[in-house]
Symmetry: C2
Subunit: 92 residues, 2 copies
């Protein structure tokens, strides 16, 4: 297998890229999972930012890559904090 070159060649250096941030949230039921996903969809629309999301019946994984982190920082977006607050609220 050829390791291949980086197709999206970062302008600076690959070492300087921020690592992707990942969250994993677990829920007690599909209803709770879906409720969280609906709230996340509203948050994405409000902040105009769409992270990569993967989910199954009782879990949701969210990934925000380096590019996303830069975009959110530049906008001073509270996306990450609001996302975590949603989970806390759902569990209260």
């Amino acid at each position: 297998m050829n390791a291949g070159t980086n197709p999206s060649a970062a302008p600076s250096g690959p070492q300087e890229r921020l690592p992707t941030l990942n969250w994993r949230f677990e829920f007690g039921s599909y209803a709770k999972t879906r409720h969280f996903l609906d709230q996340m969809a509203d948050l994405s629309k409000r902040e105009d930012y769409y992270p990569n999301v993967s989910f199954g019946k009782t879990y949701v994984n969210i990934s925000i890559d380096a590019e996303g982190q830069v975009v959110l920082a530049e906008r001073k977006s509270s996306f990450m904090g609001e996302m975590e607050a949603l989970v806390t609220a759902d569990r209260a």
Copy 2:
């Protein structure tokens, strides 16, 4: 799509596991992506089957692992066909 293996055959050896089936659907906008996800959620509820789903702003990936394929086959579920029909309908 599935080449004539019997998915409800007794689980004899790990070599005989069905490969995970993966779909990737692309959409022209986040609104279309979300519409599809909402319809998928309804389908999952109706069929009581929850595949692994990952999505971003304009794409959705669906994975159905060996276990899921066996469950759907045993129930004679039309989950996969209905899922594909949703995408076709969305694009019409």
